[in-house]
Symmetry: T
Subunit: 150 residues, 12 copies
């Protein structure tokens, strides 16, 4: 983790299908797009003096590489691994090897859904988590990250 | 839910062993006591214009009754059911019958612990949740509740 | 069991959340309250020459104590353990030690609900059962108890 | 369901081995035969102004056909599927497609028996049930059916 | 069981697909037909002074009825329930209610086949069994039955 | 399989409750009856120069016998075993012993339904399958069978 | 879905290892290559007035992206997800969010293979399916899609 | 743990239904009552210079509170949690947070009973245990505690 | 297997605790001792022109060695592995490597006993089996072996 | 059990690896050797007028034989089967056939260790047990045995 | 496999996170980087006259493609699939379709880690394996491959 | 572990049935006998300056004792526990208590065989392993051991 920089840096990383936010099943996920969420998050980051590295990818391997980048270039990771939350040991291994704090985030409450979503391979290696608050959960995660980094 | 009161009311409810906070396993749960947490939460409530009803009980039946009280007298419930999270269908039934928003909270990350703590009977009936932020998680939950109630 | 009393006595015992009957989820459980049900049951008891001891408690330990009371003071027990049906070995042990007939009752058909409600710790130690008839099931249980006691 | 007939009709349907009632394991099932039970049920039906269609078959396919007949020609079905309760998806499908109320009945308490009897494929699609009252359970089921039909 | 008849009677009962013996998969089951096996069994019965009632049916309900007949009219039952061995609680119930000795027989060794053939609902209620000897197993079962009846 | 007949013969076999097609749950299965489907299938058979043997039965044993008939008298079998798909080892054994191609068909997508419908005892012994196309699936199965037989 | 275009468009999408068709295990999958199958499918598409978008990729993330493209640019999706059928929640989520009809296709009968292939994460979210017809199954799927789209 | 007091103090704590000792199922548990056992234990305590705090409660929450009291006011805990042994995470959490030695005791051998009694949530957090010696087991536990405290 | 010897040789091998036959639980296993059984088996062997090598050992490794001896020096093995039937992969491996026919034998019907006796590691590698006939089962096994060797 | 001998005899039997006591993992098992423990146990036996037969073996078959010896020559058995506790049906069968009281003993608390140590094949057939008291547990077991024998 | 080339070619393929070798968790995996390992492997390859194709990728689909390349261009594959070992059916399918020998390698002993690492989808399709030797395991694998290729 | 001896000593230990190597199933295990393998291993040991203690036993208890000997008298253990790999907690305990490095070896790839061979009780306590290289695997294990000891 970088030490005394005037502004700390946090990666907000989205997994598969999140790029379709606002387009896909708006009844569940709302009508705000991923691009609009980025603007919102940057502004929330300002509030807590955090620079936001906002990225999304559908590929498991690509997400592994982005977590390596977070580890090398940022001070904290807010991760919504979406479907990979339930299946990816590779992302779990990448997160487990990271020295910066990691917060897991979900827009909805995944426990209220299908059986196979009960398996959460990431929860055992993250520091903290936030779920079910929709878009506002990103604000809480940013604020919570600020707390963990202070 | 009461409608346009100048100040909304939120119950923060703690389950078994939480009255021992600060005394029990301080390496894990920190040194702040339950009584000190109450003071902190009331102050955070002020910030978001929420009146806090702060209660704790070790008994499953008593908690069921307190959830009935939350349903009748408050506008939101922030619930740390502690061990009953993993075993109580009675508390689940009480929560499921409530019309106000319910946020689940844990001081630590329970997924990183024993097998029998993987079963979460409450997660399926709450609206949202926060875990792993320690004491600061209560602030995030209060802020998140303010969002859900607005 | 008391032997030749002119009027036999039967306890009707309700478990957690049943005190909220008529208030909680009326689409599922109807609008009759627990207090109104007591009146109805007393009247049905009259019909079959049975005195009714009508009690409810949300607490597992309290229910154990009430089953002890049923064992000492009544001739039969009609038990709706609600959520504890699925989790309480303590109540099962109390029922198993009782010498009077015990009838299990549920207002709805619990098998048509969540997975964890498939576990029924009590069914193995009761004499008989009635489910899915709503309020009218209490009349059938009282009539059935009269049959078991005759 | 037929609407305002002066006398409604109810099928009482028995599954495999029930034709041996009174002959088979009388310590468990009593000494009344299936034929004697028919007489008794018809008389109980009179009491509640219900005409009884009383049938039994050992075959799974035959029972499926009789449930179709109940659906076409009667107003309610009281079903003791015996062993098929635990194994027959075909009977479950037939029951699920029926528009009349269906009451499941067992002479004994099946939960107190072998592991494989814990699986109940029918319970999820019936309206109500009665078990453990022996022959008298048929009276309760008929009375309960009268209630459901009124 | 009949007591002192000069010649005792034994039913040999075959389940589904056994009528195709000799035609179906002769590499596994051999080329002798079910009709030829009947001749062989009658002759073996002679040897041990047993009259053979040799029957086969593909239907579960029909087999239940034939077991009732064995119970009423014979002194012992040699049963090859074929596929129903693994799925029929109805046949198990019929066998369990029988007072005569019952021997289970299989031409091959069923344990060496598919997973779902590991479940054997009958083995728990039969007296004895013979498997893997092919046609000759019927001779051993008849001889063993003679021993059980003596 | 018959070899060079000018017209090959295919059995279309329906299992339990399919005789109620069009009457039972039309929202799911449509309003075409089993008899109307027969007409349609015969006409589709004409198109591919196939003679259709169109039969239905509710009984497991009867279906076993009809599969024997298909094996002896036809060149291919299109089988909708309905509920027995999930429970019948007897039908599986009958299909496994058949030398003609067998196509499994379902009107709907059974995987999207209850847990116990995930078990498919037949799929391991059929050659091919078609599901979810409704009535039109029968046309695809007939065409597919023509391909397998050519 | 595009509405009244003279020619509707259908994506045929292949998953991991399908690019090796014809080269890999030809005893099982035949000797036709993926490129030759494309030609064949385009010609079958002509027959039913459908334009074919024929694509293949080994990557889970890439397939998620291609399903997004199908959703935006085509009227139907014929999907052979190969190995990802059994492991990918990400592809399931992508399919579930799509408004166009989706047909699952397999060249062979996957149920007859290893245990871990019994898990099918896609079947619950597709409309229909075809398996075990080899190359000819693609023709049936195209014809079936034409039916679903008309 | 208190350090050099002339007489150390040990809590003997009983769970649900133990207050009925001697009354409930005397064939299994003997005829000595809980009150008589208290006298006996006090006397055995004398022998080993231990003061006994002898308490019982049927409630899970109350037992949690009594374990807190043991932690604050005594030097060792001998716990018979009865039915809660198999279901209570709350009691487990309370025991785990205690710094004094804890001995688990059962009058009978619970392993020889029902399946659900195989789950023991406490055994993993106690120091030692004694079972199957009946009343005399309390003497062994007191002596064993004296050893652990010396 | 040796080929044309005038008298073939068969090993009858007993596993752990069988040396106590007649002494241990005579209600279940009868009063004949292992030594008396040897005499009986030798005499039955005479009848079928078989020389009997009759041995018993309590040790798993010793039994493995004796199976090697059977393989080298005899023409058939009749094996009662007793408790090792349920736990020994080593004995299974030894049996699987043997070229002579192997018959499994049990005095009682093990399927009617504890859960852990349902696992049978040997059944998958033996040729045939006999159970539940008591001492007489050894005669049937010797006769059956004579059949397999002829 | 021998009846009125002036001194009763008790076998203390140790299983695999116990001969290495004091040498193997002394942090867990202490530094007292098996030979030193024998001296200690003989002296404790004196105290309760019991003669001690102190034996150890690493082999499953040898332990079966020693249990036979205990049954023939002693009045009680104190058994630490070590690893065989979790895997040996043979030792369970030997213990179950014994008429003398059997006490199970473990130096540590095995429940707090690996998953496969949760299976205890012996607990269901012993009379009583003691665990977690280290060497002192042997004293408690000897005293408890004296109680069972008086 | 290419046949008689003077120098055979072997691909050494690394899966997700292996590019971080030496940087990530050096206490477990050591301080040698992936680039340094390449140098070492090339030199070990020289020793056994093998040309090394040394590649790594984080993506599942990319690894599938590289296995296709190994199949087309090399004579053997040494595969460390890392996290995909436990989740990827796609990589298993790719390996299963390869005609060259495949050796699985792990730096550590994965069996000593989390539950979900017990599932190994690759082990069933590789020829041989090496684990737990750290960097030196690559030398052993190269030597072992030389043996398999000779 | 001995420290600076000019020649270190390694035990190569074989489990049940390995003494039959070359005789038993040569298609799988090859034609080299255990005695010939000893010669080969001694020569390989020379190469790496290791003295080989080469032993085999069929008995679980005997293997436990030999592991104790390895611990006392050698510097490393190469263990092929054969069938006991899957069933022996006793051998696991013995290995876990050893301070010298332990390498697990199998001639074939056991994962590609029966379900019950998936359980490996030893893998969690060994340092490293080698499988599937046949006889040559012993050379690799000796070389790997030399590396671990240097």
């Amino acid at each position: 983790m970088s030490t005394s920089a005037p502004k700390l840096k946090v990666m907000i990383l989205g997994g598969p299908n999140l790029g379709r936010l606002g387009l896909r099943e708006p009844d569940i996920y709302g009508r705000m797009t991923w691009e609009e969420l980025e603007v919102r998050c940057r502004s929330w980051g300002e509030e807590f003096n955090l620079e936001i590295d906002f990225v999304q990818d559908d590929g498991e391997g690509a997400l592994v590489g982005l977590i390596h980048r977070a580890s090398d270039q940022t001070d904290g990771l807010i991760l919504n691994a979406a479907a990979y939350t339930h299946t990816s040991v590779a992302i779990r291994d990448a997160v487990a090897a990271v020295d910066i704090p990691v917060i897991e985030i979900h827009l909805t409450n995944p426990t209220a859904r299908e059986e196979f979503r009960q398996t959460n391979l990431l929860a055992g290696v993250v520091n903290a988590g936030v779920f079910g608050f929709g878009i506002n959960g990103y604000r809480l995660a940013i604020e919570g990250m600020a707390g963990l980094l202070s």
